[in-house]
């Protein structure tokens, strides 16, 4: 099935554009989450061997045994909640890596093709600037996160398997303790909703990155950040407010997905997503729609500029 998705059979411009994005951004889309997942697995296996199955959570160290003891003392509902939360939190390293991939893919999306002159090749084909830019938006905000969710799923199953092996030497049943308590479909659905809502809230920021990448003569990162920093400075000096920085920071850091407004915490325990319903409900906030309108305007600007600035 995968083979037919990634194979071109005749005229199908949008599929070809999406595949083109995959070929160009294989590292961001596939290699980065693969490597993070692989490294996390290796680290877990090594740490179990070296430290007698100690797990370090926020500077406290537990052995797996202690965790399992603690867990099995909990009632079924609490156990289930904790395991699902633990599995969700285990995806944070992948998500952080993928966040960087999204940012840098957006910043390079319309800059790299001008830097290596390949824009003349792309433009020699009957494809509109609108289609091209749409394929790049979808790559950054849909393809990269969706592939990442696939990897978090693999990692979560891996954790359950490792945990199951550990229970072999104990009196507990892996099925009761781990597998029956895990609601995998729900976990995946939640992750998809988190990612989708994160992408939508952050869309104006990614649109801004893509506009910067179409404008930049060199270093799109600076073009994206310096004007914002200056504006924020002016805002702070004259209006004593920090609306702009909050607007960008909160959206880019997923503040609307997490309960603590600081966004992605650096520690696992602070990874505390709001309930899925709350996250979906955040879409009634006018700020959500204002952000999408700003994103649409910025994308429109990027399309016009790519049409004009091809040389």
């Amino acid at each position: 099935m995968l083979a037919s998705i990634v194979k071109i059979n005749g005229y199908n411009p949008f599929k070809a554009l999406m595949l083109r994005e995959y070929w160009e951004n294989r590292r961001a889309i596939f290699m980065t989450p693969l490597i993070i997942t692989g490294l996390s697995m290796v680290l877990i296996i090594i740490s179990m061997g070296l430290f007698g199955a100690a797990i370090h959570v926020d500077g406290n160290s537990f052995t797996l045994g202690e965790i399992i003891d603690k867990m099995s003392a909990q009632d079924a509902e609490e156990l289930s909640r904790n395991i699902n939360h633990l599995l969700l939190a285990s995806s944070v390293p992948i998500m952080i890596g993928v966040w960087f991939c999204m940012v840098f893919t957006a910043l390079g999306s319309l800059y790299d093709e001008r830097k290596d002159n390949s824009i003349l090749f792309w433009k020699s084909m009957p494809v509109s600037d609108f289609q091209t830019i749409l394929s790049k938006i979808l790559t950054v905000t849909v393809v990269i996160p969706v592939v990442a969710i696939g990897f978090t799923l693999i990692f979560q199953v891996f954790l359950l398997i490792v945990g199951s092996f550990y229970t072999i030497s104990t009196d507990y049943s892996a099925w009761n303790l781990l597998w029956a308590s895990t609601n995998m479909p729900m976990l995946v659905i939640n992750e998809i909703i988190y990612m989708a809502m994160f992408s939508l809230w952050a869309l104006p920021v990614f649109a801004w990155f893509m506009l910067a990448s179409v404008i930049a003569k060199r270093t799109p990162l600076l073009v994206a950040t310096i004007p914002v920093a200056l504006l924020a400075l002016v805002e702070g000096l004259f209006f004593h407010s920090e609306y702009l920085i909050r607007f960008i920071g909160m959206r880019l850091m997923g503040a609307h997905i997490l309960k603590n407004e600081g966004g992605f915490g650096s520690s696992f325990s602070s990874f505390d997503p709001s309930s899925t319903m709350d996250i979906i409900r955040s879409a009634v906030d006018p700020a959500f729609w204002i952000g999408l309108s700003i994103a649409a305007a910025l994308f429109y600007g990027a399309i016009l500029l790519r049409k004009r600035n091809s040389l």
Partner: protein, 285 residues
């Protein structure tokens, strides 16, 4: 004859610099047109306008399309190779074929694979890993497998050695060109393409200096190498230019009859590079 490209009053400015000044141009189907000019004369600007890559002032009609606003539709009928560096470095040859097949309704994969089978280009390598000559072969194979009405080549052989350049033009004529297609070429190696051109456009400082059929040029423009004692008689016929080299003087004439000149010495047809130099110097003096 059908006009496939019509430009009227075409202008383009970059700030205060006028790259194209009120250009009028018509190009008909089935021609191979050389666009010849010095660096910065406006060749690429003219081609970019025709290709819809930049906005312009004035009227421009290419195959019935307005190139700038209808570029994506128009490009179904036009192929384009600018200088060799435009294939992205990260793409594999096989992926490039897939991509063009996906986005171009009149691309023929078998044809492209056929062209590439005749070369030593490996399909599973990335463009980055290929030699410059191979990259051009890949690009040419892709382009020639598209059933297009117009092919635009902007310095297509830049940086290639002579063997590849010869092959390039040979293949173009053998495998692509026919009376339903039109080719526009700019190049600095004028001598290499003059045998295949049917029409030339000389451009200087954004203006068209001369637009003519090759046949008319060889009827109009002649080079006379007179016997030394006839030099004064030749000068009396008001040549466009005179050049002395190793004791022999040659004169370039415009619009004189061959018979008249033949009385003074040996008459030959003018090479495009000589005509180019003559026109450029004539315009500046």
């Amino acid at each position: 004859m059908t006009n496939i490209i019509t430009a009227h009053n075409l202008s383009k400015s970059y700030g205060s610099f006028q790259a194209l000044k009120n250009v009028d141009l018509t190009i008909q189907k089935g021609q191979i047109v050389g666009i010849i000019g010095a660096n910065g004369a406006g060749k690429t600007t003219l081609l970019n306008s025709i290709l819809g890559l930049s906005a312009y002032d004035g009227d421009l009609d290419v195959l019935g399309f307005d190139p700038y606003s209808q570029r994506d539709e128009m490009m179904k009928e036009i192929c384009f190779i600018s200088d060799v560096a435009t294939l992205p470095k990260w793409i594999k040859v096989s992926e490039a074929i897939d991509f063009v097949e996906g986005v171009h309704p009149s691309f023929n994969r078998q044809k492209a694979l056929g062209f590439l089978a005749g070369t030593s280009v490996p399909l599973d390598k990335k463009v980055r890993q290929l030699s410059k000559g191979m990259v051009v072969q890949v690009h040419l194979a892709l382009i020639m497998s598209i059933d297009a009405k117009i092919l635009v080549l902007d310095e297509p052989t830049l940086g290639l050695d002579i063997i590849y350049r010869k092959k390039f033009y040979h293949q173009l004529l053998e495998d692509f060109f026919d009376e339903d297609r039109t080719i526009l070429i700019t190049t600095h190696q004028v001598d290499e393409i003059e045998n295949i051109l049917s029409q030339v456009v000389f451009i200087r400082d954004g203006e068209l200096v001369l637009t003519a059929d090759m046949e008319d040029i060889s009827n109009q423009w002649m080079v006379l190498n007179p016997a030394p004692e006839n030099n004064d008689a030749a000068r009396a016929l008001s040549p466009v230019s005179e050049q002395s080299l190793l004791g022999r003087t040659s004169f370039i004439f415009n619009g004189r009859s061959r018979a008249e000149l033949a009385e003074l010495g040996e008459v030959s047809r003018i090479s495009l590079s000589d005509l180019f130099v003559t026109l450029m110097e004539g315009a500046s003096s």
